[in-house]
């Protein structure tokens, strides 16, 4: 089993969720994060004082999938999250040793 993490632009969340649903993904965990990267931040002004903010709002998706689904999940995210502009984000894939569904105590692929 694999865990796919995707850092995306917040306004793309609904679109990505729908493209994942479309390929049969039934579970996603979403976290609001702040990203620091090549995309440059913005400037805020308060009473004349200027603050450069480097951290931009991003959304992180975590999706546990069976090994054979990884490629299609990555492809779905890539397609739906892309704007082509800097800051579109990253996808990371990791190996998971075990999955448990708390409600049923199922393990492994069944539990996803």
């Amino acid at each position: 089993m694999k865990k796919v993490d995707a850092i995306i632009k917040p306004f793309k969340l609904d679109e990505v969720k729908e493209s994942l649903s479309a390929i049969g993904i039934q579970g996603i965990t979403v976290t609001e994060v702040k990203g620091f990267g090549r995309q440059k931040g913005h400037t805020e002004l308060y009473r004349g004082a200027e603050y450069v903010v480097d951290f931009l709002p991003k959304v992180k998706l975590e999706i546990i999938v069976k090994d054979d689904l990884v490629a299609s999940v990555v492809a779905a995210i890539e397609k739906s999250a892309k704007t082509g502009r800097i800051g579109d984000g990253k996808i990371f894939v990791q190996t998971i040793d075990e999955v448990v569904r708390i409600r049923t105590s199922e393990r492994g692929d069944q539990a996803i």
Partner: protein, 441 residues
């Protein structure tokens, strides 16, 4: 984050202001002639305090609206109200007041007698209000000009360029608000034909509501509307706003008696009961349609009730006020749904509540007015003829407001562009237009 500061003080600019000041002082001198006073301290206390609470309605509206906007537009939405406390006040002092209440020119607009508030001092002006200082009357009316212009922002919230907003507001207050105010209250043709509008059903609510509709249509829907969810970001602000609006509306309506007497008290009671009833009936409409009454519904109903009773507050009795409020709750509940059917994006329902509620209020005044309360009978008291001036005032105000707003928008669009860039809309007005964010919790 990094912080910097660039000092760029310009002494010439300060000097320029002082020069301007010199000229203005000259105007102030004209303002001291006095007449024998008939001033009443109780009436004055009531109107001064009413003016203060009506001023408070504008920050209240900022809260009411901003709570319904998305988090990234909270400040931009507030600015649409707050900034006008600056802009329209100065406009009113310079030109707006005299265009509304100066000596009548062709039943259409006021002359320039009171430009720069010349002659508007501490003595009563018996033509306008016998027992309170002329300056108090002017201040009271100023607060109406501010909030009316601010109300429109519900129609273009979350997407208008700030510079466009500033120019639009200035033109609108001058070319739409001032004349319509003159028509109804300043000696113009609507007042003369006998239309009843105690505190602004046409002048304030139909006028701003219809303008908001024009704005929503011309500027177009928000990016993603209606596919993307655009839910209120902080309803506690909306509730605070609604509470303060209700409070302020006592000054708005009961203050419009321009005296501290039985008429004011009756307007106070009518105002309160209509708001109360509409709170209930909007919730009831929600309950019937969906099975749940909501806090946003209660707050919206309260405002709808306050809107509806505005033109009739001094003309109808308390049970009529209840009837007026009872109707407006469900009416506006359904009216705010129209935008989804018809496809415009009246983002914060300025037309759905103020346009529709104000129209009902103007009609209802013709229906429920009672000579025993305010000197004129309406339809239910055997005077169907009162409906005619009411209908004319509605149609005239709505048509004028729509056409002029449309024209002003086109001009402003040509000048600076009405709408922010897509990327700025996605980022939000707070950061893109104002360089700040609402929350760092």
């Amino acid at each position: 984050m990094r912080m910097t500061w660039q000092s760029s003080m310009n002494p010439l600019r300060a000097a320029g202001w002082l020069a301007v000041a010199g000229v203005l002082v000259f105007v102030d001198s004209a303002w001291a002639e006095e007449a024998a006073s008939t001033l009443d301290t109780g009436d004055t206390a009531w109107i001064l305090m009413s003016s203060a609470v009506v001023l408070l309605m504008t920050p209240a509206l900022a809260l009411f609206y901003a709570g319904m906007a998305r988090s990234k537009n909270v400040l931009g939405t507030m600015m649409h109200s707050f900034f006008l406390m600056g802009l329209i006040s100065v406009q009113w002092a310079v030109i707006g007041y005299t265009m509304a209440f100066g000596s009548d020119v062709g039943s259409f607009v006021g002359g320039f007698d009171y430009a720069f508030l010349a002659g508007v001092g501490g003595e009563p002006n018996p033509d306008l209000a016998e027992t309170i200082p002329h300056s108090a009357f002017m201040a009271f009316q100023m607060m109406f000009a501010i909030i009316t212009t601010a109300l429109i922002s519900g129609g273009f919230a979350e997407r208008m360029r700030f510079s466009a907003f500033v120019i639009f507001s200035l033109l609108w207050a001058t070319l739409v608000y001032a004349p319509v105010c003159h028509w109804v209250w300043g000696g113009g043709w609507i007042g003369s034909m006998g239309a009843l509008d105690f505190a602004g059903g046409t002048v304030v609510h139909i006028n701003s509501g219809v303008a908001a509709l024009a704005c929503a249509i011309v500027i177009g829907p928000r990016l993603g509307y209606p596919k993307e969810p655009m839910v209120p970001h902080n309803l506690t602000l909306t509730v605070i706003g609604a509470g303060l609006l209700w409070f302020g509306w006592f000054g708005f309506n009961a203050g419009s008696a321009l005296a501290s007497d039985g008429a004011a008290a009756n307007a106070f009671v009518a105002t309160h009961l209509a708001a109360a009833t509409a709170t209930l009936t909007w919730c009831l409409a929600e309950y019937v349609a969906r099975g749940k009454a909501s806090v946003l519904g209660a707050a919206s109903g309260a405002v709808a009730g306050l809107v509806a009773i505005t033109p009739g507050a001094g003309f109808v009795g308390p049970m009529s006020a209840i009837a007026i409020g009872a109707v407006v709750g469900p009416l506006c509940y359904y009216a705010v749904g129209l935008k989804q059917t018809l496809g415009y994006d009246d983002s914060l329902d300025a037309f759905g509540v103020h346009g529709v509620g104000g129209t009902w209020g103007a009609l209802a005044t013709g229906i429920f007015a009672s000579a025993a309360v305010g000197g004129t009978d309406g339809l239910l008291y055997g005077n169907p003829g009162q409906m005619w001036p009411q209908v004319v005032s509605i149609v005239a105000t709505a048509s004028y407001s729509f056409a002029m707003t449309f024209a002003i928008l086109k001009i402003v669009d040509a000048l600076v562009g009405l709408r922010v860039a897509d990327q700025d809309e996605i980022t939000g007005l707070d950061l893109s237009q104002h360089g700040e964010v609402g929350y760092n919790l």
